[in-house]
Amino acid sequence: MAASEQEILEGLGKIINEITGIPASDVTPEKNFVDDLDIDSLSMVEIAVAAQDEFGVEIPDDQLKNLKTVKDVLTFIQA
């Protein structure tokens, strides 16, 4: 059964908190990873690896660079 957008958002919030220390509650759909959350490209790789384990969805490098916002990731995982 596919996870709901809210479940994915909560899971992603936990991953981002674990990796960066940013409070999970700050991880909301409209946030831009670089401009709003100050997450660098290597941290995005860590997040992608953890998301793969959590949601079973592989995020290839050429797709990862297009995922600018939390909403982009939610959409990608649900697609």
């Binding site: 674990e18 990796i19 220390g21 290597l42 690896v49």
Partner: protein, 410 residues
């Protein structure tokens, strides 16, 4: 010695060891004669002949913020914890980044990361590796992370020489300040090598104690029944500073870092040279570098790892290079052997001994071996005399690397 040469002082101390998570708790434990060596309960323990080690008293991953801890190898975590303690202890000196350096070393590097990453790579593929795998396993990682933490730009170095690495780092740091390349340098050693492979490999070299029925009694330097070293983990870091810089800011001065001597045995890759010529040379060079004589040395924190081959040879060399009068101890009897971390923590202990004028007793020394003429401290702690005092910290490593560092009381 040039009378106007830059003098180097110690203004900060940091340590996390098998007997304590900071300098104060560690030093208190050493003066109480407490062993940090305990039985291991890991999943690989049945695969190795040695079933105990000196695990760190405080898990560094519990001290550091979680996002930071997960990007650091355990050896880097220890170094970060101890370097921050040392920096705060020094009063967080204000120093221009281009005048601040770091020299921190390990003997083995991020081997826990290397081995775990290899498992991940084999079992789950390259794409599951952390992008921080390389900075976690590279042996200059601890120095580099501390350099970033402090924004040090005068030079960040890692001097790798097995079990002499930490002492060599402190010597190199002193040389940086004397050469005018830095005013303040964070220096020391770290190690996190308690892993089945390392224990198996050192056991294959027949270097480790297998006293599995008595872990706390296994590290017994100079005792007739010693049977090898005991692996420990942790880090010891000092803040070194030019005397001028320290005095200008009114810093507390623990001691002078007065001289360093280096040599190499050119004899055998692991065995000590039987006549001790290399280690005598290191101690002699250190005394000359410090501009003092053997009579000025009141204390030696010996390398003495509890191996049959090394312990007695070292104190016979001390007798030749310095004399039989210094109070000699091996704190490895309590901490185990931290490999590249040894020179770091034992420099901290040597400095504390000078500051408090007390030498912690070697534990587990029940039956003194033959051929020892120096004044070993065992049974009870011994005071150091009033007046000017100096001490030597010895560290020797596989490969025949010898480093002796001289500290003088402030």
């Amino acid at each position: 010695m040039s009378a106007n040469r830059v003098r180097v002082v110690v203004t900060g101390l940091g340590a996390t060891t098998p007997v304590g998570g900071d300098v104060t708790s560690t030093w208190t434990a050493l003066l109480a004669g407490q062993s940090g060596v305990e039985a291991l309960t890991t999943d690989w323990i049945d695969t190795v002949p040695v079933k105990f080690a000196g695990t760190a008293a405080v898990d560094p991953a519990e001290v550091l913020p979680r996002p930071e801890a997960r990007r650091l190898d355990r050896s880097e975590q220890f170094a970060m914890v101890a370097s921050r303690e040392a920096w705060q202890d020094a009063g967080a000196p204000e120093v221009a980044p281009e005048r601040l350096g770091v020299v921190v070393s390990s003997g083995i590097g991020g081997i826990n990361t290397t081995l775990a990453a290899y498992d991940t790579y084999r079992e789950r593929g390259w794409s599951r590796l952390s992008p921080f795998t390389v900075p976690m396993l590279m042996p200059n990682g601890p120095a580099a992370w501390i350099g970033l933490d402090r924004r040090a730009q005068a030079g960040v170095h890692a001097t790798v020489s097995a079990c002499a690495s930490g002492a060599e780092a402190i010597g190199y740091a002193m040389d940086m300040i004397r050469a005018g390349r830095a005013d303040v340098v964070v220096a020391g050693g770290t190690e996190a090598a308690i892993h089945g492979l390392n224990i198996a490999a050192f056991a294959a070299a027949r270097a480790m104690s297998t006293r599995n029925d008595d872990p706390a009694g296994a590290s017994r330097p100079w005792d007739r029944d010693r049977d090898g070293f005991v692996l420990g983990e942790g880090a010891g870091i000092v803040v070194l500073e030019s005397e001028e810089h320290a005095k200008a800011r009114g810093a507390r001065i623990y001691a002078y870092c007065a001289g360093v001597g280096y040599s190499a045995d050119a004899h055998h890759i692991t065995q000590p040279e039987p006549e001790g010529r290399g280690i005598i040379m290191a101690m002699t060079h250190a005394l000359t570098d410090a501009g003092i004589t053997g009579l000025d040395i009141k204390h030696v924190n010996a390398h003495a790892t509890s191996t049959p081959a090394g312990d007695v040879g070292e104190v016979q060399a001390v007798a030749k290079a310095i004399g039989t009068h210094p109070l000699v101890t091996s704190t490895k009897s309590m901490t185990g052997h931290l490999l590249g971390g040894a020179g770091g923590i034992e420099s901290v202990f040597t400095i504390k001994a000078l500051q408090e004028r007390i030498v912690p007793a070697t534990i587990n020394l029940d039956n003194l071996d033959d051929g020892i003429e120096v004044d070993l401290v065992y049974g009870e702690n011994r005071p150091l005399p009033e007046g000017d005092i100096a001490a030597v910290n010895n560290s020797f490593g596989f490969g025949g690397h010898n480093v002796s560092v001289v500290f003088k009381g402030a």
